[in-house]
């Protein structure tokens, strides 16, 4: 797995690539928590994720919970098919905010 950071509007976008598994998810987690810690609104771009396991999902959940606590926006964008299957199977698509694209999104507070 590797990652790239970019800014889009008011969001820091963390784009993950490859396999987000037990071995690599700590790196993803570190980046997510770092930017949320810096009070950034964070979007995780999963467009190029080939595989994500429960440790990877746990990193996303942790980001989601932390954002809620700090009243920041957190969501997933451009979720790849394999990642979406995992999210849907576990019904996490009902918990994590998922967006097609970032452009045009309004900055609204999470419930």
């Amino acid at each position: 797995m590797n990652y790239q950071i970019r800014t889009e509007g008011q969001y820091t976008v963390i784009a993950l690539r490859g396999d987000v598994d037990l071995h690599h998810s700590p790196k993803a987690r570190e980046q997510i928590l770092k930017y949320l810690g810096d009070q950034c609104h964070v979007m995780v771009d999963l467009a190029d994720v080939a595989y994500i396991d429960s440790s990877g999902i746990a990193s996303l959940i942790e980001g989601f919970q932390l954002a809620k606590q700090h009243k920041l926006q957190f969501g997933l964008v451009g979720v790849s098919e394999p990642a979406m299957q995992v999210l849907k199977l576990a019904r996490l698509d009902r918990v994590l905010p998922i967006h097609q694209t970032i452009s045009g999104m309004a900055l609204v507070s999470i419930r």
Partner: protein, 578 residues
Amino acid sequence: MDTARITSGKSVNSIKPADLPAPPQAAIQIVHACSDDGTDSKKLARLAASDMVITAEVLRVANSPFFGYGYGKKIQSIPRAVTVMGQRTLRNLVLCIAVRDAIKQDSIPGFDINTYWEDSLRRAVCARLLGRDVRLDHDECFTAGLLQDFGLLVMFFLQPDKAAMWPEMRRKNPMSRYQMEKRVFGNTHDKVGRMLAKEWGLPAELGEAISNHHGADGDAPDETHTRLCRLAYCVDWMAAVFTADDKSETLTRCRDAITRIFGLAPGVVEKHLDNVPSLVEEAATALGLGVGNQLKFADVMQEANLKLASENLSYQELTRQLEITLEERDRLAAELNREIALAQEIQKSLLPHQDTPGQYITGINLPARELSGDFYDFFTLPDGRMYFNLGDVSGKGINAALLMAKTSSLFRCLGKTVHSPGKLLQQINRELCETTTRGMFVAVTAGLYDPANGTVRLVNAGNPPALLIGRNGTHKAYKAESPPLGIDTDTAFPEYEFNLSDYGLYLFSDGITEGFIAKDETLGITGLLTLILEVGARPAQQRLAAIVDRIRRSPEPLRDDTTILLVEKPHDNGARTD
């Protein structure tokens, strides 16, 4: 040129003659005049009269006990010195003074020049002793020894920022020091010495010894070089016995060189080395150079042996420490293994007993590591209804095992009073949301089965679909309608309700469907369905064992905890576990 005018930090690998320090002019003129056979004592007297300081110093040194040229009668003038000593000896003596004064005491900041002169005097004294044995002019040998490494002092003079390297350089044997000079300065003392000999117009025999005593490239000079030059090579090793870290090795090299080049018996070296310290002190006094008290050769060797012994002891101590550390590591590993074995035992005790005859529910849990993040449980309520669950904690290892224990305990404890799987998971979810960390969550499928009327109320929170399978292959999947527990306190947990009838209800973790059955091939839902139909006639426990075995026997290592649970009415045809 005045040495004080030379700027520091000049590149040593591109030294120009103008960069070199200059000796007192009167001294160098005397040296040149002495080398000229046409010079008479009157001319030398005139030259000496032009610099009374030099003259006084030459006479003082000549009359010193170490040189003792007056043979008991004090020499009081340069012409007298020429008569008693001869021009050549006078020249060598003046050279010693000239080189001493070429670089002033404090002109290299941070450099201990006294230790440099101490080493040079040691080479000079060794050369004088050895020179007598090999029938060379021992005064000339002394001068050669004093001058042979002057190039090194010049390099430090040009690059005083390297002064801190001197103590380390000094502790090396001549060959290693030569290599270190190359690394530090990009140049070596013999090359700088050659330039110096030319610039100062030194006598050819001395110039040769200074320039070539390291041979072609740090090696020994060969038969084509003069005996004085080859003596300078031996002297380097002889003097280094006092300063090098590897004294025994240096001494061996020194003995070998002297025997090989001059055919002297090896014992000669030790005999001379015994005399070196006191002679160095005398020569230092004679030349007005400050050196500290000289340790006797025997003491130097004893100190070296003690150091070697202490290093050996340190090595033994280090080995012992390493052994202790390894023992400690093994002890801790054993302790950890014991702790893990205990944890495994506790975990197993959290799984339900399966030896009840005619039971409705059966399960198998195969951990991928020592401890499992999966769990299952079932128990009967006082009214006869049965609660069952199958959970999968995100991640693996001890943290997953602890959360598994917590969730499983909450289920069993709260399940006794909350008789709705949806409400039960809601309560557990709230409890977990308050306490879980690092984004950990628990996928749970839970149900309540009433054997009296066959009704099942089922909730799937984040697990793969539960499968209701009939003997003829008809099946229905109950997908997750809720996300896992521990994520969001407001999650709702809707219940499915259906009749179990004669069907088998299979609950499983994703370790089953994502488990490998061949290289790059996972079982999948379809594979699982096929497998269940294949093993359909066997008793429940055997059926589950066959499914798990299929994954366990795969050449791929087990990558996830693998858990499966079956709820089924006991059959009359005996295809049931009991």
